[in-house]
Symmetry: C2
Subunit: 477 residues, 2 copies
């Protein structure tokens, strides 16, 4: 197995190497698209399962809407089509003929779903209407990178319709909190939460809330986002309802989505020089048992003990024995480390003699002998919980130590050009300044604070003008 590029010195190449060597994905023959390989697909399925349960707990029901959006439908909301049209793939021929009307491959589904909501919503009794779909999406990207930016990607998109702005605000918030809880409890990393500045919000939205994780190279990576779409889409798609007094009203829409980009996020947040590190909740294989033997005579007894252990743990723990004959233990150690399996259990003739096994933790690298009679389901579950907690703590520590508050341009650029991370700085509120900072430092505003952070008449460190708010800056994926 080839060596990984160094995470410390060549993070971008390390990222690509991990994806290849862990067997997560590979480039397809279609430019900009990837093939989600079995191990990557298992991660996505686990993420889907956890998130789907959380979505349903919010009273949201799944549905499925068409892949194609007729040009006349997508073009109704002006800001939206302006934002998305340049990114769309367009079907012009079908069934051997040129079509009368072009079909856009969905770049997101607000337009087709709200056309449907116009039929579904009649009365205040129909509200709130909460729908989610798991779907593939196409956005024409010129510069792609596996999981982070691909021409086609998988995601979920929630779409809801509410009687009042307050209800819509609450939904937007609930979706954001759900993403943050999924990240923390299932994927074991913290996120920053807040509002996007206006110039970074979703095309056609009133405002956008975002979750932003921090990669090990000090760059921010946007996870799930949640949008209050106001009443613009209701107007454009003529969605209305009769309130309790029989008066016609325009409902408020929200949408929120999370894509397989979250797999890329797991890689860059938890990965280390040896490859992927998976939180046990997410890991398709939580523990791998590697038999170690040198002579033929040893083989039978060692393999037997491995399979007995597997049988004892299976059902409660996702465990497997790597009994490939053609691969050496060293090769196997490397492979399972790259794949991020939380626990490796080694079993050799000497361990059999001592009635023990060697346990290696992927999170800390710690290795210790454990008596076989203590290697129970309960002990393993406790160990896995500890690994889960450790990964979360490490990610929290990293984010904490890489989040700074600055007042001057020098402080700002020193951090951004150095180790990177999040930088809180006063902002004068103008797009011009934000653009200027981006040009000069490559850092962008990731979000604005949720709770007021005083700027106490401080100036924006770049424009010198009075700041109107604090803003969280970082270089980003």
């Amino acid at each position: 197995m080839p060596r990984l590029a160094s995470q410390a010195t060549d993070f971008p190449q390390w990222y690509l190497d991990v994806i290849e060597q862990a067997g997560l994905a590979e480039h397809a023959d279609v430019k900009g698209c990837i093939i989600l390989k079995p191990y990557g697909c298992a991660l996505w399925e686990a993420i889907q399962k956890d998130l789907d349960q959380r979505i349903k707990k919010l009273g949201v029901q799944n549905a499925y809407f068409p892949l194609f959006i007729p040009e006349s439908v997508i073009a109704k909301e002006k800001e939206h089509i302006e934002g998305f049209a340049p990114q769309c793939a367009v079907v012009t021929h079908g069934g051997g003929k040129e079509l009368n009307e072009k079909l856009y491959v969905r770049p997101t589904s607000e337009t087709i779903i709200y056309t449907t909501f116009a039929r579904w919503v009649r009365s205040y009794r129909d509200l709130p209407l909460k729908i989610n779909q798991w779907a593939n999406i196409v956005r024409w990207e010129m510069r792609t990178r596996a999981f982070l930016r691909t021409l086609e990607f998988l995601w979920q998109e929630g779409h809801t319709c509410h009687a009042t702005k307050d209800d819509a605000d609450a939904m937007v918030r609930a979706a954001l909190d759900m993403y943050a809880a999924h990240d923390r409890e299932f994927l074991a990393f913290p996120v920053m939460k807040g509002k996007k500045p206006d110039h970074e919000k979703f095309a056609g939205a009133l405002y956008t809330l975002t979750t932003e994780a921090l990669a090990k190279d000090g760059k921010a990576i946007q996870a799930g986002t949640s949008h209050n779409l106001g009443q613009g889409f209701s107007e454009a798609y003529d969605v209305s309802f009769l309130d309790a007094e029989g008066k016609k009203q325009r409902p408020w829409m929200t949408s929120w989505g999370l894509s397989w980009r979250i797999i890329g996020t797991v890689i860059v947040v938890h990965g280390d020089e040896k490859g992927l590190r998976l939180p046990p909740t997410l890991a398709p294989i939580q523990a791998v048992i590697v038999p170690i033997y040198k002579t033929d005579g040893e083989e039978t007894a060692v393999l037997e003990e491995c399979h007995t252990l597997e049988k004892n743990l299976a059902g409660s723990i996702r465990v497997t024995v790597d009994d490939r004959e053609e691969k050496s233990p060293g090769f196997k150690f490397n492979e399972w480390e790259v794949k991020g399996v939380p626990v490796r259990i080694e079993l050799g003739p000497k361990d059999l003699e001592k009635k023990q096994a060697m346990l290696a933790r992927r999170d800390t690298g710690a290795k210790e002998a454990m008596p076989m009679d203590q290697l129970t389901v309960t002990a393993m579950q406790k160990l896995l919980e500890d690994i889960q907690q450790t990964l979360l703590s490490q990610a929290e520590d990293f984010m904490r130590s890489h989040t700074h508050t600055v007042e001057t341009r020098d402080q700002f650029t020193k951090i951004i050009d150095g180790d990177g991370g999040f930088v809180w700085a006063p902002w004068d509120g103008s797009i011009e300044t934000a653009e200027h900072i981006k040009d000069e430092t490559k850092a962008t505003i990731r979000l604005l604070p949720e709770e007021e952070m005083s700027v106490q008449g401080k100036p924006d460190p770049f424009s010198g003008k009075p700041a109107t708010t604090m803003a969280l800056y970082a270089k980003a994926y």
Copy 2:
């Protein structure tokens, strides 16, 4: 709620009415496409979950391949492209520009997946390679009907690669048996299994095995199919492996798929004059509790009892209380009947007095009082198992009584023009005769027998020529 069309006198309209009134799906703004509504989506999710477990038990791993197939890739297997090109949607523009190479929206994924297999398969140690994907598919259909034939549909497609024809044959068979078991054990209906005649096989396949269910209107409906693709795709996509002796070999491919058409199959196999009838294993709601009260004073006690019962059953049974105030019990009875919920539990003031509830079975229509203290999880589970078994028995009886063996043209047409159903008849083996029979009777050959059925020198009843095999005929969806 509008009445359903009669199943007995207008089956096609009844089918559409059930889909609308049960809230399964509706037409989209894109011609030929449907919107899978929450209740329909819940059915598809349940089917996916059951089938996915069965697929994984066959040692198959999930992956995901791109939606788009470059023209140069799809065109490599000649029979395949000839079969599918006229049905394809074609993307000619992306990112605001005309593309250098057209992209086909996948009508099935053999071509893109086998291009990938060419990279994944090197040695006999890599075989068998067994991959499945859950995906959306586009085939340009002129005459569409919800679930049965739609421009876009959801399905799973399995793709495997084997060292020998025997291994491929065994896989094709295992996939077919898996579909039949899913139909019987989960969806509670029997299927006929067999081989498609050559002129009905998958474009590019060596042979196709099929499962065929029987609708209540006497028409056959194809469920899952499984294809041995031989070595044609291996040749076309240059997939090869080194065998144990180091010799280069062409592997054998199989593919097999099942789509959301299976939801349509459930409707036409189990439905009755009152609408859908769902097997309890599949039903998103297995039991609905309907409170019955006339005066305000009764309401509190009745609702309280309903929710207590719900709480006692929930967790083990998928149960809900229909406590909508604005709907009458009669309206609710109709709605849950159309939706096919297996058990309705009615609770009114008189039932409270008598410490009982009324149970109505959707399968038989039987209604009986049950003492509240006997309405346990165990009792409900037993009842649901009985309903599952009854639906299966009914479907088996129907298929048995609607399967005939004939020798003459008169017998053949009398059945096909009458109640319909399956007809075994001697066939001379020629496409011409099959086409002639189709033109004259609208019946097609659904499959050829799996085990030899003697034709004892009998003539084909239409051509008069000696029969070479028996064939199973039916009108079909």
